[in-house]
């Protein structure tokens, strides 16, 4: 039975050598920013602790989080993660289906009350009593609440579960709602991104299973270790930003030289994520390195902030699309014209008043 097995037992059973196991521990400890002792502690924990059951549910989503997760760069990471957590339920990739699959939820709820992790990919739509996302014959929102009741903690995978993402973009007809607005009484870890970086996902899971507690979260509920700095802060093109060297249009000289993409609407300066350090696909590249600005996919409401290619945000409240500068210039122009008109009237008034006075 999985409950009596330790992580290490499972890892060995999967045919992973002790050597690879040690390598994984030091690699993960390094990526989480721990010292040399961290790897040892991690090893110890994996050798003695019981596996943590994980229930992975899918609401309104595109499965890009799962796609990212299963591509976790280091093959070893994938192997270990998929064996080390006891992924008891994931309707997208599990073998069981139908009633068989749903029975696992009931079983986990009873057997591991308060001990399992609920990983949620996507979010529940609340409009029409949640009818826009039916899962196993009932609205997803009900299933989510039901499984959240006895969970130890909830991981909100991706921008959907964390912020709402594209299905919550204006006008949000299904009223898609991020997890933390639906579940209020459980600790929630937001791992935003569309999708989040694979190593970030496995890193978060490893942290929880290793230490039996949640990583330190920031003000928005994101793990500090991956989301405390902006793309901009660690961007390799940052020297060009400070030098004032920008790509002015696609395919210009600056674009070829790898100048800063700030003017092309790069959202790096307002996006908190680990792309510029961890990068993607086994550390091969990330959007900016490939010559395209960051679109800010791990930020709240990134679909509703105007074009991906404009530096200044579109402000929709004004009815017509405009940005801060257009609004400001218009206001300044109107006021300026007002001042000129006012000054003119003042002058005319003054002359006429004087005339009246002299007449009198």
């Amino acid at each position: 039975m999985a409950a009596t097995e330790t992580f290490y037992d499972v890892i060995r059973r999967q045919g992973i050598t002790r050597r690879s196991f040690t390598k994984f521990c030091s690699l993960t400890a390094a990526s989480l920013g721990f010292g040399p002792a961290g790897a040892k502690a991690m090893e110890q924990a994996l050798e003695t602790k019981e596996r943590v059951p994980v229930i992975w549910m899918h609401g309104l989503e595109c499965t890009c989080c799962s796609e990212s997760f299963i591509r976790s760069a280091h093959p070893l990471v994938k192997d270990v993660i998929l064996s080390m957590i006891s992924l008891d339920y994931d309707d997208t990739i599990m073998a069981a289906a139908g009633k068989q699959a749903e029975a696992i939820l009931e079983e986990t709820k009873q057997k591991y009350k308060g001990k399992y992790i609920l990983a949620v990919e996507g979010n529940p739509p609340l409009n029409e009593d949640g009818m826009f996302c039916i899962d196993g014959g009932r609205p997803f929102v009900e299933k989510l609440k039901w499984m959240a009741e006895d969970a130890m903690a909830i991981i909100a995978w991706g921008a959907c579960a964390s912020w709402g993402c594209v299905q919550a973009a204006k006008p949000n007809p299904t009223q898609a709602t991020p997890i933390d607005k639906v579940i209020k009484d459980k600790p929630i870890i937001k791992v935003p991104g569309c999708p989040p970086i694979a190593e970030v996902m496995t890193g978060v899971v490893t942290y929880i299973t290793t230490f039996g507690r949640l990583p330190e979260l920031d003000r928005q509920g994101r793990p500090q270790m991956f989301y405390s700095q902006r793309i901009h802060d660690k961007c390799y093109r940052r020297p060009h930003f400070d030098a004032g060297q920008f790509v002015e249009e696609w395919d210009d000289e600056g674009a070829r030289k790898g100048y800063c993409l700030y003017k092309m609407g790069c959202k790096g300066p307002t996006t908190y994520n680990a792309c510029s350090t961890v990068r993607w696909n086994n550390g091969v590249s990330f959007p900016i390195q490939s010559g395209h600005g960051c679109i800010g996919c791990s930020e709240d409401g990134f679909w509703d902030k105007g074009s991906f290619y404009d530096r200044l945000t579109t402000i929709n409240q004004f009815g017509i699309e405009a940005n801060a500068d257009q609004i400001g210039r218009t206001a300044a122009g109107v006021v300026g014209a007002g001042i000129v008109a006012h000054a003119a009237i003042t002058a005319v008034k003054r002359v006429t008043t004087k005339r009246e006075k002299t007449d009198a």
């Binding site: 060009h240 004032g244 100048y259 200044l312 500068d325 609004i327 006012h342």
Partner: protein, 240 residues
Amino acid sequence: MSYSETKAADSHGEQAIERKSVYVYEAPVRIWHWVNALAILTLALTGYFIGSPLPAQPGEASANFLMGYIRFTHFAAGQVLAIFLILRVYWAIVGNKHARQIFYVPFWSGRFWSEWLHEVKWYTFLARQPKKYVGHNPLAQFTMFFMVTLPMFFMVITGFALYSEGTGRDSWEYKLFGWVFSIFPNSQDVHTLHHLGMWVILTFVMVHIYVAVREDIMSRQSIISSMISGERLFKDEEED
């Protein structure tokens, strides 16, 4: 407040016109005003170029630091503005009553609103004569509160919050002003609002300069020179 009356006859025996002057703006208020004006000018200019940078600089990145200098100037001017704002708040507490005027609007006072209305009429050419005020007139007080005092605090708070994005989560800026990001989780919104704040203040500056010049000519008291000498000079003898 001391009235100094000058009643003098010149050598030809002609009596000069009587003028009353009052000491209104104390030195700290005047210094703050001009430092503030300079800081706002610097901040608006550099801030605009941070949002819409100048054309790309040629040469190696190592030989250029234009954006760095612009941002440094912006941050330095911002720190100066913030410190002077704190000093100004201090002076509002210990200074004379005119030093307090731009920090509140007496919503509760019926007289304030009737005089406010009179000022509106004066500016819309419906009233023939403006009233006399030692400090700011009610409309000026109202406008300054909503277009300078509040926006300045807003700009300082959002400014330091944005600055904390660079200085990091352990910085005092983040500890003090990080709560801004609890209200606006996406700092892009804070950037936009900070940008709009600039336009609010710039619009005020336009109106402020125009009205100061106009009042200096049209009204019954000195305006521009008062912010240099601190003395408010009344040009006529009539009551109110």
